[in-house]
Subunit: 483 residues, 2 copies
């Protein structure tokens, strides 16, 4: 476990994804990491729009009193809120030190949004009058802040970037269907674009989002045997509508409270990608989100060769770029080929295309696959033609590999001792019966460090006996130690 966490920190740094900032818990996302985030954002944003959602933007700050209106919500976030108390700073004329100006204290402190339900429902109050205004399907791309005691780049940071969907509906059924639809959208996106298999499920009451009636989640298992919550979708019932008095006139002209959902995924997904596919050489990126899908490395020994191979490299890059792919030519004279090979392997580029004088003379190219290490020399035309197909195959194989890994680390367990042994020895997903009581859940967590990741929506629904208490259980739930 220790080894993986060191490997993770090293890969994030050496691949140029992100770094810690001087502000505890806040990260700097470096250009390569940001490019990855853009490639996650774009298809997600398109998927939201294709399902009828529109983007909007709500304030960064939330008045303390708003947060307080939904009791469970404030309870859930109180421990991790950054609070703005002053709106001006002052330089001491003598010491030149700077401090908040005591004369510029806010009457009501503001919280930096940890999530936006409260400010958004306060706004929805004015946007919703009648059933004709529903459903209201809004998404926001934003930064949020949750003070983090044990930060980990991408996985747990005080400031992180995310999208948060907030929708309003006329009926409970519609809102529930929306929450489920977005869960499915997340699962499809994560599986198809990030090549990460997920388990869809419901959270237990104890693990629910603060203020939700039902929280749906997509959970995955990482290479260190720990689980990660990759995205959540909440059915909020009428909790926020009641807290902010949001009612609508139904078709019978009666006033009713509105039904709500919210759902989000964040920069944490980048952590999931790293810890789903990486190996001892570094990152392995799924082609669909890789900032660079193929790196072309020209090799030369003298100036005459240099001109020839570098030109050939750019010609090859151009023809693939024109076909819509993301190529990079590394003709940097400062580094030797071996150094470059390591560098681009560390950065997880799916395909490496090498052009030396011999390849140029023969009209061939040497192709290396990052995820298998396979190398092949073939004609340039064949490579250009096969390139799109190779990317598709890599995408599928990465998913299959992760799927097999997770399958091999998922254990159906009927005794508490067995569960403890597995957790200690190798980690993994554990499917076991649970009696449905929060006390049991907490006791297991305290004794083993494992939490109930979800109550799976798919798979066996067969009843049994709780591994901890022996009391009846309606179906197995998914336990794991988690990030």
């Amino acid at each position: 476990m220790q080894a993986v966490s060191e490997w993770y920190a090293e890969v994030v740094e050496r691949a140029g994804l992100a770094e810690h900032s001087p502000i505890r818990g806040c990260m700097t996302i470096k250009p390569y990491g940001w490019a990855l985030w853009e490639n996650i954002q774009r298809p997600l944003d398109e998927a939201f729009k294709a399902t009828g959602h529109t983007n909007a933007y709500f304030p960064l700050f939330i008045p303390l009193s708003f947060l307080a209106r939904e009791a469970a919500h404030v309870e859930g976030f109180a421990q991790e809120c950054a609070v703005v108390t002053h709106y001006r700073i002052k330089t001491d004329p003598v010491t030149k030190s700077v401090a908040p100006d005591p004369e510029a204290e806010l009457e009501e402190p503001l919280v930096v949004r940890p999530t936006s339900e409260t400010i958004i429902w306060n706004t929805f109050k004015n946007w919703i009058r009648s059933y004709r205004d529903l459903p209201l399907l809004i998404n926001q791309w934003a930064n949020v802040v949750r003070w983090e005691k044990r930060p980990r780049l991408f996985l747990r940071t005080t400031e992180f970037l995310w999208q948060e969907g907030h929708t309003a509906h006329a009926t409970a059924e519609e809102a529930l269907a929306e929450a489920r639809r977005m869960l499915d959208l997340y699962a499809d996106f994560i599986q198809n674009y990030l090549a990460i298999p997920v388990v869809k499920g419901r959270k237990t009451p104890h693990e629910r989002f603060a203020g939700a009636v039902e929280t749906f989640t997509v959970e995955t298992l990482l290479i260190d045997g720990k689980a990660l919550q990759a995205g959540t979708s909440h059915f909020l019932g009428q909790n926020f509508a009641k807290a902010f008095e949001v009612r609508f006139l139904n078709a019978k002209n009666e006033l009713e409270y509105v039904w709500a959902t919210s759902w989000g995924v964040s920069t944490r997904l980048i952590g999931a990608v790293i810890l789903s596919h990486g190996d001892e050489k570094g990152l392995i990126l799924p082609p669909r989100i890789a900032p660079i899908q193929g790196v072309i490395v020209p090799i030369w020994r003298n100036e005459a060769e240099e001109k020839q191979v570098v030109e050939a490299a750019y010609r090859l890059a151009d023809s693939l770029k024109k076909a819509g792919f993301r190529l990079h030519v590394d003709a940097d004279p400062q580094h030797r080929p071996g150094w470059k090979f390591n560098e681009w392997e560390m950065k997880g580029v799916p395909l490496r295309l090498v052009l030396g004088p011999r390849e140029v003379a023969e009209g061939t190219v040497e192709v290396a696959w990052r995820h298998t290490g396979e190398k092949r020399t073939l004609s340039l035309e064949a490579a250009i033609e096969a390139f799109p197909k190779w990317l598709e195959t890599i995408q599928t194989e990465l998913f299959q590999r992760a799927y097999q890994r997770i399958k091999a680390s998922t254990f159906t367990v009927d005794s508490y001792d067995e569960m403890r042994t597995i957790l200690e020895e190798k980690g993994g997903f554990i499917l076991a019966h649970w009696d449905g009581n929060t006390e049991t859940e907490i006791a297991i967590k305290e004794e083993t460090g494992a939490t109930i990741r979800c109550i799976p929506l798919e798979g066996s629904q067969e009843p049994g006996r709780c591994i901890y208490t022996g009391r009846p259980s309606v179906q197995r739930v998914l336990f794991a130690r988690a990030y």
Copy 2:
């Protein structure tokens, strides 16, 4: 003037662009306003990338001590900084009221970034070692906070969205060239996409960005005769490199301080669009950034007609969408055509296409131009064919119209009295001589409300005498009352 400000507030609200939030000075950007911002972001982002810049992301929070390192910088922003002092809140068990937890006070308060030079240069320190790491060309899309006493939606808000470019160079010449290049990029973008003519110039020392050696600006004149700073690009010299000790080894193996630029445009551009092209009916949007380029309104009297015209409307929309245009069909049965016409005029949609039973029977469509009010009925095929060209023509005509308006409101003035009269009676750009002294600049500002918008980079450079002091002046500068 009063009339325009009321008109502005009404258009922003009725067109569904934005609204005030309960947090003083912070706005909610509504879906239609956000769609406009996306259409501004996308081409700008492409232009940055095409000129070699890459995106990254830096923390929202800046330690107070960082801000204090560059003296002019902290001086410039001290009055408008939101300060985070606590990282936890606490609910009073009796009153249930919520307050910052006194036991969770930060050792060093954090400022919510008003701009990111300090945090970024503190980071660049670790990214730059030798001349080979330069130039470093970074951009960030982010929210920033500057406490605003007199907020105005889009034009002046406490929180606003922007991009901020931050670049590092080996020489002063290179950094200056970058600052000028980005100024040109802004001018081209604003003129070509927003159809807003701008004057490029340098700011006076008094109006410079806090911490800059030279600030370049693009200024425009709005329909109320007031000027607006639409974007700025700063040559920062070595100020931030020195404040954060950022040095590089040059080719001769000597340590030198790095040279810097920063540049930004914000959601304020949306305010510029509204106040450059709008009229008594509402918004007029340039086709290149309009979320909807053409609205199709089917008209019917009975169910049989409804089916026929609505189907025809969607067919027309599809054929134009396939060609890459942004169309919307308004088949809402709740509203009458007249209401819809007003609504889409208010929202500034460039072209309206009306299909009634007669048009469908005859294979024609009635086309109405938002910016001129012109209406024409022509064959459907002719309309589909001409549609792209119409959009281009509208784009050009909006620019020309704004250009003529600004030209007619730009006055070359040689007496202070004349300047005062113009400012009182109609506003506008005033080209006049100034002696180069800050005291003169401040005196003129105090007496007339006009500031020096810029020292133009283009146009006449002929010397003269200051209109205020009679002292020598090297060239005319641009005065105006401004937002």
